[in-house]
Symmetry: C2
Subunit: 320 residues, 2 copies
Amino acid sequence: MANIKDIAKMAGVSVTTVSRVLNNHPYVSEEKREAVRSAMVECNYQPNLNAVHLSKGETLLIGVVTPFINHPYFGQLLEGIANEAVKNNYKLVLFQTNYEEEREVEALQMLQFKQIDALIICSRICGMDIIEEFVAYGPIVLCEDARGKNVSSIFIDQYQTFSKALMYLHNKGHQRIGYSIFRKSGTNSKLREKAYKEFLREMNEPFNPEYIFYDCLKFEDGVHVVERLLKMSSPPTALVVTSDIVAAGILTFCKEKEIQIPEDLAIMGFDNQPIAKIMHITTLEIPLVEIGRKLFLQAIDNSEPSHEEVFVKLIERETV
Amino acid sequence: MANIKDIAKMAGVSVTTVSRVLNNHPYVSEEKREAVRSAMVECNYQPNLNAVHLSKGETLLIGVVTPFINHPYFGQLLEGIANEAVKNNYKLVLFQTNYEEEREVEALQMLQFKQIDALIICSRICGMDIIEEFVAYGPIVLCEDARGKNVSSIFIDQYQTFSKALMYLHNKGHQRIGYSIFRKSGTNSKLREKAYKEFLREMNEPFNPEYIFYDCLKFEDGVHVVERLLKMSSPPTALVVTSDIVAAGILTFCKEKEIQIPEDLAIMGFDNQPIAKIMHITTLEIPLVEIGRKLFLQAIDNSEPSHEEVFVKLIERETV
DNA sequence: CTGTTAGCGCCTTCAT
DNA sequence: ATGAAGGCGCTAACAG
């Protein structure tokens, strides 16, 4: 492992000069620059990143917080982040939190202690107040509407989006509309609940807590939804399902139970994941890979916190 | 950001002593140890990892090479790796390669240049010769049978496993058996092909290249399989599908086309992913999360390369 | 048991 | 345009 000193010796210059060409600094004669270059290729020289990091106080590491990594939603997000990271020569440090606040704080602390340069939080359980304690230590970017806050964000307008979905179902003639979601709390969940209640009020429909299905994250969670549906005397005729993979699960079990889609039950998915296309699920397209890309770019952008809204598109297929 | 010197000063000791308590070295009086400890908590001291890494020549970073991260197979593997990584205070550096050799070499070079401590290669396209060029630089662990090679590995016996699946189908009365797989080449693919051909020979069945379906990676790839199936004059009556997610896709499309499972077509999945349970897919259980765990442990184990076989279990459900 | 000191490899003033 | 030298924060002989 040749180091900067060796290169300097070989090229007959000082380490400073080597460092200069390494960092594309001006004021190096073309001659010496060339000598250094060839010495570097000869030794197949690679700078020791730890030394660079120590010296510069930066790491080229970006932390990524997700509750799970093995889930299509976060998988797509990660994919977008990872692709952009390689392009920019950054590495990712993964924090799989399972929504444990402790894990999130660990990630935040890595930022505080300069072990990573920035932190992308794809989903969180900790309060905004905790996040804000750490904004001073480095860029934090959230995947939720954080306008007005001191962190960057890429977000979709959950309220609008959810309202749009509900309205679409309403216009298709549905009165009893329910929805499934993963978490009861969480910023996005609350916005959706708000949109839901607001919608009911406008439509003059009663609020039936039974029509909300929580803990829906994976394909198999669709089972429970269908099971509960079967037991209800007056089940909803339409469901907004905040994840295509769950929608796919519901669809599959409905077929097993001979519930006709969309006649007996209309289903509106979320995300437009590949499975939605395959199973002809009507859904709201959320460009997750693209969002991941933007999240990364925001993380390495050292200017002021910025906020960017991403728009969703309703994709009509055969489940509504 | 207090550093080791500050702590030393506060505690009235030398930096060495601080370093000693930091690294749990013996020969520090309980008294001073305590003084150092309290100074550390008072400043909320965190060692600068870059400095530690530079000094020790290690990074506490483990590279993980996967072709894709957004796929249940690699997702589960990653999950296992990630869980064990946090336990051991290591961070993961992700390399999503899309099976581009260049990306794999990049990862290998990061090992060479000490930017990561070890490298886990979950799946590869580059030749073993290339891998072996890098073994001198640090632990490399593969998720395939690498016995006899100079790298560690966790693996399942692909040949045996595939034979077992084929034999199971045969015993269920199937003569025309095909299989679907992602890659044509690749170590595992070749072993499976070998097992397949050997099986046919033993059973005295002809080899029909049409019965092999390549490029099957995702749910939606099941479509193409079914489409081809429909066009065949003498389609296979059973399929070994080397990924449950693909099996699920095939199952779904068969239902759409009114192909009865298992009557018209028997399906044997692979991995026992959650979807297999839900859709009642008969499958071979491969403990991917556990494999991920073991891969990580091997990566940080500095002793000689070791090899561990992991065993699979056939899970009978309703698609055969 | 404890402290002094020389690195680890690179960057960056400061002189020249 | 170039180089000498100090420093980033920590570890690990070595000496005592």
